[in-house]
């Protein structure tokens, strides 16, 4: 690699070969058609060059050939349809993280990446992940739109304020891969970059547990749950209980249902009156301005950790 003149980034994720193969197909089609046009132009320009200044214009000019028009409309249509479907398959796969994916949280802000692992370990401008394990990033921005891009994984996704976006990948080999911010975000945009460190699963475990003296995200969330007073309602029946809540379908007061995912929990904290759970009064105050994005993620982690331990008695 150091000696070669690189034309491609390393293929370091499970989706990278698929993307590259699609790229080869498009390049083959492009080279074919570009060469065809270039050669035809060159050939015609030479063969039919005007040989004398006063050479008359050609008579009996061919100006129409419907079969030809149809052919060179239909063949491109077929080719682009192939490109479309092939690309769509990859795109849809990219939008469906496996259910057992390892979740890591990313907060982008001008001009750095804050990353937090479930066990509370934090990093800045670096992301350590294990190889061979699908990793799902749940991301939000604290200010403007950013983009978390890892060319070696052939993956990127915008990071938007006030909502969560996700991307997932499964790294295939240990190594160090560039991480870029890929949505212009102001002065420090070009400096908002770092490295993704892919490690063997054992190394990753060792790294993950080393130097962590603090609490896991879920534990920090539990602390916040008490500190911020959530327990006074949600622990006493005045508000919906959290046991087994995450991932469950929730019935709302207007009759519709919603899945209790990250975005739902975040909205419930920041704008509680937007969606009221059926059977409960709309008395929850907003915590906007009182919790940071990081704290919201920690609270979410805590709620996720609450498996249903006893049967729900009449709770929605």
């Amino acid at each position: 690699m150091p000696h070669a003149f690189p034309l491609f980034p390393q293929e370091a994720s499970t989706i990278a070969p698929a993307v590259d193969h699609l790229f080869y197909f498009l390049t083959a089609v492009s080279i074919f058609f570009a060469s065809l046009i270039f050669l035809l132009i060159f050939y015609f320009a030479v063969k039919y060059r005007r040989r004398s200044k006063d050479e008359p214009a050609p008579k009996n000019q061919v100006i129409n050939n419907i079969p030809l028009e149809v052919t060179w409309t239909v063949i491109p249509m077929i080719l682009v349809a192939i490109m479309y479907l092939w690309g769509a398959e990859i795109f849809v796969r990219n939008a469906q993280p496996p259910p057992n994916a390892l979740e890591i949280f990313v907060i982008g802000k001008q001009w750095m990446w804050h990353i937090e692992h479930n066990n509370g370990k934090r990093e800045i401008n670096a992301l350590h992940i294990p190889a061979g394990v699908p990793v799902k990033l749940t991301m939000t921005s604290q200010d403007v739109i950013h983009d978390f891009s890892v060319p070696a994984f052939r993956m990127k996704m915008d990071v938007v304020p006030d909502r969560y976006t996700t991307e997932w990948f499964e790294a295939t080999q240990p190594g160090k891969y560039r991480l870029f911010c890929d949505q212009y975000c102001g002065m420090g945009h070009a400096l908002m970059r770092g490295w993704v460190y892919v490690m063997t699963p054992q190394d990753y475990q060792r790294w993950l547990t080393s130097g962590v003296t603090g609490q896991t995200m879920a534990e920090q969330g539990a602390a916040l749950y008490n500190q911020l007073g959530c327990v006074t309602c949600h622990g006493t029946g005045k508000g919906p209980p959290f046991a087994g809540l995450y991932g469950r379908t929730v019935k709302l007061s207007d009759g519709t249902t919603v899945v209790a995912n990250d975005a739902y929990i975040r909205e419930s904290i920041l704008d509680p009156s937007a969606q009221i759970v059926n059977g409960y009064p709309a008395i929850m105050p907003t915590f906007k301005g009182q919790v940071s994005e990081e704290q919201i993620l920690q609270l979410t982690a805590y709620i996720k950790s609450l498996a249903s331990t006893k049967s729900n008695t009449g709770a929605p």
């Binding site: 039919y48 005007r50 060179w72 002065m187």
Partner: protein, 542 residues
């Protein structure tokens, strides 16, 4: 190329009838207005080009050779804003469209000549505001003005820049309106729709886009200004606003805008290919309808700029499919132009070199658009140098080559003078070579992952950036040379005569330069365009 008879410059034409400044600044003659636009956009191209020069020089070093990131961000913003809104969008429509449209239709002027002049003044007002932005310290939003960066997080001259573009938009709208009415209402007797030159079809399609699309960007920029002044939360997520709504509104115009930039150029190419191969266009109806199809479908594909914006996957799939659809008419045109060369009688004057260069470069640009329309692939190359290479192939390799080809082709008509074709051919080749050297490496850079709008970059991208900058210096040279010999030709060029290229088209039946009222008598049209097969005699002076 030289006429058999001695060409005499006509006594009174639209240029020498009045030399006063007032006659120029208050003119309602579409031909003079075309010159006003040409001077203006040449100036803006220079400003945008200087910005590009500084950018490419800066990128010679990974750490940034010349400027701080803050300044670099202002440079790429102003490069984009000026090149898109003050060069590419007006270029062919406002210069060549204004000059040629009435002549190609056999008319004396456009439908609303005073509105035409007003358009130019509106354009200059918008342009002045943007120049003020540059002088006052610049703007660093990028030409895309994405929120909430542009509304909440920048304290550069965002409102002035947005205001300048907003105002200039009205110039486009009025020009589009003028052209549509002119084409509908002012065709010469016998000039049915399918006897129109393809340049006119291209102008028509572009005008539709002007009319329907421009107001949407006007409102988008207007809302940005409102949000900045009143601090309301239209795009501010903390106040309930949606930053992605801006992207939808912005791209709803800005995607059709790119078709505004390329369709007129395609129209020019149709004229050049036929004239310099002395052939009728192959598949006239297909080319004409393709222009309209591109304009229409072009309004439905804006979301392909937003595949990874947080937009839903379903929306992405729909936009991707439609984007594939819009590629087909462009391909059809390329094939038809190539087929036009078959069994032609081809000469290689500068306009033809530009036209042939266009076909090659536009083909590459168009094909690389497919990479971006393919969702799974776009997820890798979105917002990288791949995108930059793609759109420069279309904008510069396409639109600018068409513009230069058209300028060279119609220069004798506009000025009555011939330019030295040897120099022109050299310049065309320099542009072609310099262009490819500048932008082809950027495809590679993009696939390698280099993001766009980066003032500094990791060292592994160094070599390709150096190649690109070297190419840019050659490209720049290619642009400067025509300025010199074209200016020279105004004084010292041989007299052109009414039809130095022996081309068909109503514009060539009148003198060069034409009289103010274009035609001594209203022409009557009896056949389709490009009837080179019937062109046997010399064209006489009108």
């Amino acid at each position: 190329m030289s006429s058999q008879e001695i060409a005499i410059e006509p006594k009174l034409n639209y240029l020498n009838c009045d030399y006063s400044i007032k006659s120029w600044l208050l003119t309602t003659d579409h031909k003079r207005i075309a010159w006003l636009y040409m001077m203006a956009i040449t100036f803006f191209f220079t400003v945008g080009g200087i910005a590009a020069t500084l950018m490419r020089l800066n990128l010679l070093e990974p750490q940034g050779l010349l400027v701080e990131p803050e300044t670099y961000n202002k440079l790429f913003s102003i490069h984009g804003i000026i090149m898109v809104f003050f060069f590419l969008v007006p270029s062919i429509p406002a210069v060549m469209g204004n000059f040629l449209l009435p002549m190609m239709l056999g008319a004396r002027d456009v439908a609303f000549p005073k509105l035409n002049l007003l358009s130019w003044y509106i354009f200059m007002t918008g342009g002045s505001l943007v120049l003020y932005t540059v002088i006052a310290g610049g703007v660093d939003t990028g030409w895309t003005f994405y929120t909430p960066l542009s509304t909440l997080y920048l304290n550069t001259h965002v409102m002035a820049a947005a205001g300048g573009v907003f105002i200039a938009g009205f110039s486009s709208i009025l020009t589009g309106l003028n052209f549509v009415v002119t084409i509908h209402k002012m065709r010469a007797p016998g000039l049915t729709w399918f006897r129109l030159p393809l340049f006119v079809w291209a102008m028509y399609a572009a005008s539709i886009i002007f009319i329907i699309g421009t107001p949407v960007i006007a409102i988008s920029l207007f809302l940005i200004v409102v949000e900045r002044i009143f601090h309301v939360g239209i795009f501010d997520p903390s106040l309930g606003g949606d930053p992605i709504l801006f992207q939808h509104l912005f791209w709803f115009y800005s995607h059709p805008a790119v078709y505004v930039m390329i369709l007129p150029s395609m129209g020019v190419i149709s004229e050049l290919i036929t004239a310099f191969s002395r052939k009728r266009i192959f598949g006239y109806h297909f080319v004409a309808f393709s222009s309209v199809a591109i304009a229409a479908i072009g309004f439905l594909v804006w979301g392909h700029h937003m595949f990874i914006s947080g937009q839903s996957v379903y929306a992405g799939l729909v936009f991707s499919a439609l984007s594939m659809a819009v590629a087909i008419p462009s391909a059809v045109k390329v094939f038809n132009w190539t087929a036009t060369l078959y069994k032609g009688s081809i000469s290689y004057e500068a306009p033809m070199l530009y036209a042939l260069g266009f076909i090659g470069l536009f083909t590459i640009g168009g094909l690389t658009g497919l990479y971006l329309a393919t969702t799974g692939l776009d997820q890798h190359v979105h917002d990288t140098y791949f995108v930059i290479a793609h759109f420069h192939y279309i904008m510069v390799g396409g639109a600018v080559m068409g513009y230069l080809g058209g300028i060279h082709y119609w220069w004798p008509k506009m000025t009555g003078r011939l330019y030295p074709d040897g120099w022109a051919r050299v310049a065309a080749i320099i542009v072609f070579v310099g262009f490819n050297l500048t932008f082809f490496p950027q495809f590679i850079l993009g696939y390698l992952g280099m993001p766009r709008r980066y003032a500094v970059y990791p060292p592994e991208f160094h070599t390709l950036n150096v190649i690109s900058t070297a190419g840019a210096s050659i490209l720049g040279l290619g642009y400067v040379i025509p300025l010199i010999y074209l200016a020279w030709s105004l004084r010292y060029g041989p007299i052109a005569g009414p039809n130095p290229w022996k081309a068909t088209g109503l514009e060539w039946t009148t003198s060069s330069p034409p009289p103010t009222h274009n035609f001594e008598e209203t022409p009557i049209v009896t056949e389709e365009p490009y009837r080179y097969d019937r062109l046997a005699e010399e064209i006489h002076v009108a």
